[in-house]
């Protein structure tokens, strides 16, 4: 899966969860600050991402921007491919 494809899916999940317009959710968007998301929003976004990509995200530490999320998913998918 390409970086762009991962971003599109992550973007759709964030839009669905926060109710923001898609054009407001870019790679540099800070999920908490720019989208006014609370901890439960992030919890639910992570849950949806886990389901969508069939991966496990044990901690949300270090995840601030959409780019952080996309990179995390990318790494998890690469690790899964190696298994």
């Amino acid at each position: 899966m390409t970086n762009d494809e991962i971003f599109s899916k992550v973007q759709a999940i964030i839009v669905d969860q926060t109710g923001e317009d898609a054009d407001k959710v870019t790679m540099t968007t800070n999920i908490k600050q720019d989208l006014d998301a609370d901890s439960l929003d992030i919890f639910e976004v992570i849950n949806e991402i886990e389901d969508e990509f069939d991966i496990k995200i044990e901690t949300e530490e270090g995840i601030e921007t959409v780019s952080d999320l996309v990179t995390f998913v990318e790494k998890q998918l690469a690790a899964k491919d190696k298994e």
Binding site: D38, L40, N47
Partner: protein, 244 residues
């Protein structure tokens, strides 16, 4: 909340207060998930089904987070909604403190308090998604007053009251509610074991001079499920025993 066709999980519901609560919800038209460490008897299941509702029997040890997760997943495989969770499963292991081992203490905490936490945690993800649901946790007046020989039980039930308030605050962000019931002396198999002399002494202290019935506890569970504006509360059902 209208309880018709809602899905209600009652842990520890193969007998006593849990069974009375399950039956009361069934009478209101809710579908019931019976739970215990072992499968429910045929009589229990038939009694629930007699109310023309669906009854699933899912045994799971609530001290085992994986078993709890499997039970919750299994509920969502059978129905697409879980609306009310009554955390009733609990044990006692009464001993004076100087005779109580760390194991005696932690076993009661693990079942009553950590078990309740395990069930709530497993339910949160789907219930947050659904933006609705209610938890009802079984505390006890012993959690409010303490009792000789019940340090473990009292600590677990006091813990449930704190847990209830924290869940109520956190889950309110998604429209979920969480309350507790603190029964006093209720007429169950547990209280039937008490010596007559002990029972008489207890009755002396209860302003209404009688034990409560399991149905009277179940009525409060129904009330807490139906009322959508009560959260974070502990309702005592004790014949006036702990009134101040």
């Amino acid at each position: 909340m209208d309880l018709t066709d809602k899905t209600v999980l009652v842990t520890g519901s193969t007998q006593g207060i849990g069974l009375a609560i399950a039956q009361a919800f069934a009478k209101q038209g809710a579908n019931i998930v019976i739970n215990g460490r072992h499968a429910a008897s045929r009589e229990v299941i038939e009694a629930i089904q007699g109310e023309n509702v669906t009854c699933w029997d899912l045994s799971a040890d609530i001290t085992d987070p994986d078993a709890v997760q499997k039970m919750i997943d299994s509920i969502y495989e059978k129905t697409d909604h879980l609306d009310i969770v009554v955390n009733n499963a609990g044990i006692v292991n009464d001993k004076l403190l100087n005779r109580m081992s760390e194991t005696d203490f932690s076993q009661v905490i693990n079942t009553n308090l950590t078990g309740t936490f395990n069930v709530i945690k497993a339910c949160l993800r789907p219930m947050y998604k659904a933006r609705k649901g209610a938890f009802i946790n079984m505390a006890s007046v012993i959690g409010l007053t303490g009792n000789i020989g019940q340090a473990n039980y009292a600590a677990s039930k006091a813990g449930i009251i704190g847990l209830t308030k924290s869940v109520a605050k956190e889950a309110a962000l998604r429209g979920l509610r969480c309350n507790a019931i603190a029964p006093g002396m209720i007429d169950t198999a547990m209280t039937a074991q008490l010596a007559d002399k002990v029972k008489a002494e207890i009755l002396q202290q209860i302003p209404l001079k009688r034990l409560g019935s399991t149905d009277e506890v179940a009525q409060v569970a129904i009330f807490l499920a139906e009322n959508d504006y009560i959260t974070g509360q502990t309702i005592t059902v004790d014949g006036g025993l702990t009134m101040q």
